[in-house]
């Protein structure tokens, strides 16, 4: 005899079923327990394949459910079913909400606005810096940052939120006990500690390709708005955006130059009606309702750079933007001897105004740059 919770766990663990199949079973039988007790004849009445029926009627299913519970305890993963109070309210309203979530760390808070930041995996330094900057600024203002732990934009968004000391959730396309891609291990561990790792897949499930579109629907579902700093015209991020749009969420896109392959998706979204975003404030003001009773003024006043930079430093700084520039190019534009330029760049770097993206390539740090106007 299983507990209510264990029936849900069993139900979520039937790998033969996809979310629409699960939805149908629940509609017909009412609860996982009823599915569990359903006889062959009752199941046969549904349009299930033999494989799916066998998945449900497996002999060792009781034992397997108990074993899974044990695995979860050992790995420190919580299971939150749709019936639980803890289950995110935002997810209840999406198309095919996951029956249960496997969680390491915390779920996003219900009364904080949540922004999903997604975009290209092979992004440019520009996109990366923007993702990080927006994530950090929104975090500081109390937003949760939702993303998918992929390389590129996703990683930058998570890292930005963590840097600002905010909450960030990574929705995975594999079990929460796996880190994919594995070079994000450090990020993965930090998110577990300061945020949450969320998946609808039980532990041990590998990152199958087919899992990722389903993962995107959860990212869209958990967010109140989706921000896309950089995406190609044909990109998974646009799928996330359209899922979010169907769910009535806001879409924000950062504009790019025409002909810039990596901004093609963003520009297209803007033409289709997405909000064009230039500063984090553009997003914040859309969510005033969350801060009705709170003071929202950020710790602003970052316009002090004029007081802090020397004239020569300003000459160099003024030539830098969010696109990496090689030191030779800077030298030509500033008409400065190499040894002086090097010195000024180091000072700017140490003061936090510029950053090297690769050896000898420099960009202006967005937090200073976007507030300098």
């Amino acid at each position: 005899m299983l507990s209510r919770q264990e029936y849900w766990l069993w139900f979520c663990n039937i790998e033969e079923l996809d979310s629409s199949r699960r939805e149908e079973l629940l509609r017909v039988f009412g609860s996982p327990e009823a599915v569990f007790r359903a006889g062959d004849a009752e199941l046969a009445a549904l349009r299930l394949t033999e494989r799916q029926r066998n998945g449900i009627r497996r002999k060792d299913r009781e034992k397997a459910a108990a074993a899974l519970g044990e695995v979860l305890r050992r790995k420190g993963i919580r299971f939150v079913s749709r019936e639980d109070e803890e289950y995110p309210e935002r997810l209840r309203h999406i198309y095919h909400p996951p029956c249960g979530l496997f969680v390491k760390g915390r779920l996003p808070g219900e009364d904080a606005p949540a922004i999903g930041i997604v975009g290209a995996r092979t992004c440019s330094a520009y996109g990366r810096e923007l993702a990080r900057y927006f994530a950090a600024e929104l975090s500081k203002r109390g937003f949760s940052i939702i993303s998918g732990l992929a390389a590129g934009i996703d990683s930058a968004a998570h890292a930005g939120a963590l840097q600002a000391g905010g909450y960030t959730a990574a929705v995975l396309g594999c079990g929460t006990d796996r880190c994919y891609p594995k070079e994000n291990l450090r990020l993965y561990l930090n998110i577990e500690e300061a945020g949450g790792l969320i998946s609808e897949y039980p532990p041990g499930v590998p990152p199958y390709r087919g899992n990722f579109p389903a993962r995107n629907r959860i990212i869209a579902g958990l967010s109140d708005g989706i921000l896309i700093p950089e995406a190609r015209e044909r990109s998974g991020s646009l799928i996330t955006a359209s899922l979010a749009l169907e769910g009535g969420k806001d879409i924000f896109a950062v504009p790019g130059r025409l002909g810039d392959v990596l901004s093609g998706g963003c520009n297209r979204l803007i033409r289709a009606g997405a909000a064009l975003v230039m500063t984090p404030e553009d997003i914040v003001q859309e969510y005033d309702r969350f801060f009705a009773d709170k003071q929202t003024t950020p710790d602003g006043g970052e316009k002090f750079y004029n007081n802090l930079l020397e004239t020569r430093e300003k000459i160099v700084y003024a030539k830098l933007g969010l696109t990496p520039k090689h030191i030779d190019e800077l030298g030509r534009e500033c008409k400065m001897p190499f040894s002086e330029l090097v010195q000024l760049l180091l000072v700017l770097e140490l003061k936090g105004y510029v950053r090297q993206t690769g050896a000898n390539y420099y960009i202006a740090c967005p937090d200073r740059l976007l507030t300098r106007g």
């Binding site: 030298g331 030509r332 090097v342 010195q343 180091l346 140490l350 690769g358």
Partner: protein
């Protein structure tokens, strides 16, 4: 009757004197050779016996025993033939033994009595001079090489008959070196071949890094997309290095002599070696070795430049074994018959693309994933990167630079003058110490020569924490800053020198990764 003649054995690039002792006894006619001989030395017996016969000496039917002493070092190569022939002839009293005690023989004989060239003549003649020999009889083909050594008579011989005539007191002609050491006859010409820095447009940062590398012998890593001129720059670096001094020239020539790589008519190496092995090179070809050990590429690059293009494509073992030479300036090879040591003090120049396709960070052209990039860059191990002081990323050249080609670019000669000045300061600084360049300074020397003021200390401290430098990186930056100050002729290291050193610092793989530090 007993007699002896002197030859020499080469281990590493040093020679040691070997005595060929011959004894004639009564008994069944026989010819025995002993003394820890490799098979090619054992064959000396047949070569010498028949060569003597074909040169007109009939050996009486006696029991001949030859011993190569000291008998506990392994004898390899064919250079003992002449010494053995001389010892035997003297033992039969066919030639007077008067000159034998002050002469040294090295050369291989043919069955018809001709004398063929051998490897390692230069170290052999050097050792002969050191040991007080007065005359060296060596193959004619090696004569120009041996004649480089002053203070000893070197005679090139073509046949056994010539040798005998000299030993009988006949006239002989002392070989002349093709070009006297110190006169850098061929230098200008090859400089032209190598190309000039004036031909490189733009790339200010990379050219500056090359200058610093040349001045302090700092190893340099060039990173950049295909076609930006990494190879062009690297191949011109010898043109800004100071010419070889006579002593250096000798060191290099010894290695080439042992390797049998001296070209005819070029007995003394006067230009700095520039070696650019292909990335498929094996570890053994790189380090040297083999059953009969031979100097590898890194030793042939001694006192010169070793250029490794496409660094991540090299085999890991081939790269890993660079660590010892880069630290100690020589490579030690252990073989069954003993250990030999070859010098390998070179300037390492390495070039690589930033990613497998080559165009990162230009995302409009590069579609490599961050994992691919990390893996590509990760092929170069941390310990190897730890031994590289400078790295510079080359930018794509734009049309404006291309159009300005040839105007206002500094020529190699101008840069070389600055490098030579910095070298002179270093020579004065290190005096008689074995360390000769800033890049090779020990901890103690860094503390002594790289003292910095308060302002500089604060900058270093700030940068240290901000960039998360390791202790090793910190010292590399100090050493590089010292060279930059030397280039300027400044006695003290200033913030501008440190800034520049920091600009060219080597960032390790994790620092260059696309993924965020978090």
């Amino acid at each position: 009757m007993f007699s002896k003649a002197y030859g020499a054995a080469v281990t590493g690039i040093e020679a040691s004197i070997v005595r060929a002792e011959a004894d004639i006894s009564d008994g069944l006619p026989a010819f025995e050779m002993v003394g820890y001989l490799a098979s090619e030395v054992r064959e000396t017996r047949e070569r010498v016996r028949i060569a003597l016969k074909n040169s007109g000496w009939r050996l009486p039917p006696k029991r001949i025993t030859v011993n190569l002493s000291p008998a506990d070092i392994r004898k390899e190569g064919t250079a003992y033939d002449l010494a053995v022939a001389a010892a035997i002839l003297a033992a039969f009293e066919m030639i007077p033994g008067t000159l034998l005690s002050s002469s040294l023989f090295a050369g291989e004989v043919s069955l018809n009595g001709a004398v063929n060239p051998v490897r390692g003549i230069l170290p052999i003649v050097c050792e002969a001079k050191r040991q007080g020999f007065l005359l060296c009889l060596i193959p004619e083909a090696n004569a120009a090489e041996g004649a480089i050594v002053r203070g000893i008579e070197v005679v090139g011989i073509r046949t056994l008959k010539e040798m005998v005539s000299i030993l009988k007191g006949g006239r002989y002609e002392i070989a002349r070196p093709a070009s006297a050491p110190g006169e850098d006859s061929g230098t200008d010409q090859w400089m032209e071949e190598a190309g000039d820095f004036a031909e490189i447009s733009g790339q200010q940062a990379a050219k500056r890094a090359a200058e610093i590398a040349a001045a302090g012998m700092h190893n340099l890593l060039l990173i950049g997309p295909p076609g930006t001129g990494k190879t062009m720059l690297a191949s011109r670096i010898p043109s800004i290095l100071p010419g070889l001094t006579q002593e250096e020239s000798f060191d290099v020539t010894k290695v080439y002599s042992v390797a049998g790589r001296l070209k005819e008519g070029m007995p003394l190496i006067t230009r700095r070696p520039f070696l650019a092995p292909h990335h498929t090179i094996t570890a053994q070809a790189m380090a040297g070795g083999g059953k009969r050990p031979m100097p590898g590429i890194i030793s042939l690059a001694h006192r010169g430049v070793l250029f490794l293009d496409e660094l991540p494509e090299f085999r890991r073992e081939a790269l890993e074994l660079l660590r010892q030479p880069m630290e100690e300036g020589h490579v030690t090879i252990a073989r069954t018959y003993g250990i030999c040591r070859y010098p390998a003090d070179f300037l390492l120049l390495a070039a690589m693309n930033p990613c497998p396709c080559g165009y990162y960070p230009d995302r409009t052209r590069c579609g490599c994933t961050s994992g691919q990039i990390a893996r590509y860059q990760g092929r170069i191990s941390g310990p190897l990167l730890d031994r590289i002081d400078l790295s510079v990323e080359l930018s794509g050249v734009n049309y404006r630079e291309l159009a300005a080609e040839g105007t206002g670019n500094e020529s190699s000669a101008v840069i070389r003058a600055r490098v030579e000045r910095a070298r002179a300061i270093q020579a004065e600084r290190f005096g008689n110490s074995i360390v000769r360049f800033n890049s090779r300074m020990s901890q103690g020397q860094i503390a002594r020569y790289c003292a910095v003021g308060q302002e500089e200390k604060e900058l270093l401290e700030h940068a240290f924490t901000r960039f998360g430098l390791s202790m090793r990186a910190y010292y590399r930056i100090l050493k590089t800053a010292r060279t930059i100050a030397d280039l300027e002729g400044s006695g003290e290291i200033r913030t501008r020198h440190i800034s520049e050193a920091l600009c060219f610092r080597v960032t390790d793989e994790s620092g260059r990764r696309e993924g965020m530090p978090c």
